[in-house]
């Protein structure tokens, strides 16, 4: 077998092996998207009820709370960035990081110091490589986040928020996550979570106007207990959405990788075939040429 043909055969074998891997990854991701979407849906009732409860307390009491309302001086702003633990997900990680960096430069332009918290190994290694300091790093749960994970992150950032920018904490909290729009579209979004804004509105809230609640033990205490849970629910929802987006992005990336591998195999097969044919043609012409030369030599000697 000729050298050229051997090289083609070897490349075909290697691309086939890659294709098998990407195909398997694609199937795994496809199976997990559905589950991730179901988890997003399952967490919605809690998020809805807690949002309603917070709105009810906020609209019925004049309770002042450290988590509500702008502080007079905003010195330090925190960004919680949600990325994946693994790559192989197309532009998923880079889109989220880019969004976070845009937000960071915007905040810097407003004269705020940016403090970063990162969830997921990919984001963490991005910043570590560039020598940018991180205030908090969590990883190991990006593809299947539990409520406990969200609570852990929320506890840490709420603690920093309550400390305030003057004492090494933060005055603002933004969350950058990836919203699951559809199987084909996922968008990196930035949202400000803290301080909470109460919008005065004359429109009736969804689900009817709020009844005149009685608060136990007191409006302030209920609000006090509710708000951290509200933040956790928001963060948990962001984590779940990001997980679903991660799987969808990975599925798409792996699908196009598989398609590319198929194309490459087809091209290489064509090249290998023509190389084989060229080899055969050459061998035949060599044999014919040799036979002719032999016949000529024999004819000359007679």
């Amino acid at each position: 077998m000729g050298a050229q043909l051997r090289v083609y055969r070897r490349r075909i074998a290697s691309v086939s092996a890659t294709k098998k891997i990407t195909r398997a990854q694609e199937l795994i991701a496809t199976a997990r998207i559905v589950k991730a979407q179901q988890r997003v849906a399952a967490s919605t009732p809690y998020a809805r009820e807690i949002t309603r409860a917070v709105s009810a307390v906020a609209s019925h009491s004049n309770a002042k709370h450290p988590l509500i309302g702008e502080r007079p001086r905003l010195r330090r702003a925190a960004i919680v960035l949600i990325t994946a633990d693994r790559g192989f997900a197309g532009a998923y990680n880079s889109a989220a990081i880019k969004q976070a960096e845009q937000l960071a430069s915007l905040l810097r332009d407003e004269g705020k110091e940016v403090v970063r918290y990162v969830i997921g190994r990919k984001g963490a290694s991005y910043y570590r490589f560039r020598g940018i300091e991180l205030a908090g790093v969590w990883s190991g749960f990006s593809d299947n986040p539990q409520y406990g994970n969200a609570a852990e992150v929320a506890d840490a950032v709420i603690a920093d928020f309550e400390k305030g920018g003057e004492d090494g904490g933060v005055d603002e909290l933004h969350v950058v996550s990836t919203e699951f729009v559809s199987m084909l579209t996922q968008t990196a979004v930035a949202a400000r979570v803290l301080p909470l804004e109460i919008e005065e509105s004359t429109e009736p809230p969804t689900g009817g106007a709020f009844a005149l609640y009685e608060f136990e033990p007191s409006p302030a205490e209920v609000l006090d207990a509710l708000l951290p849970h509200y933040i956790k629910a928001r963060l948990f929802n962001a984590l779940l959405q990001s997980a679903a987006s991660e799987h969808a992005a990975r599925r798409r990336a792996m699908k196009s990788a598989t398609d590319n591998a198929s194309d490459l195999i087809r091209q290489l097969t064509r090249l290998a075939n023509s190389a084989r044919q060229a080899e055969i043609t050459q061998e035949i012409s060599e044999i014919v040429g040799g036979a002719n030369a032999l016949a000529d030599a024999n004819a000359g000697s007679e």
Binding site: R39, S43, P45, Y46, E49, A53, F210, Y213, E214, F215
Partner: protein, 130 residues
Amino acid sequence: MAELDVALVAADREVWSGKASLVVAKTADGEVGIMPQHQPILSVMNPSVITIKTLVDGAPGEVLRAVVHGGFLSVADNRVSLLSEAAEIVDQIDAARAQESLTTAQAGGYGADSEAAAARAELRLRAVGR
């Protein structure tokens, strides 16, 4: 007779929802029994076992017991929402697993969370009557 629309919701799923005639929960101010036409109330729940007297097609059904690890109770217009980060129906509690996690927690196996984990496991065990 009016009915209560009850939803018992945990952070990651809806644990139970349906009609009921009475909900008993333990709030920060003590035990409250919620019956139809109760005045609107929003209160903080303590970690406890709640009781729901269910109604099936208007007729009294089984009495449901569930464990809530803290959370909130809100009542308005005969709608009762029980929110808790972690909630489970007593029948679905795995006593052996709860016992196991209690032992681990008491030995400090969960680090800083051990105390909370032990409290949760104890509550589960108390609910299943061990």
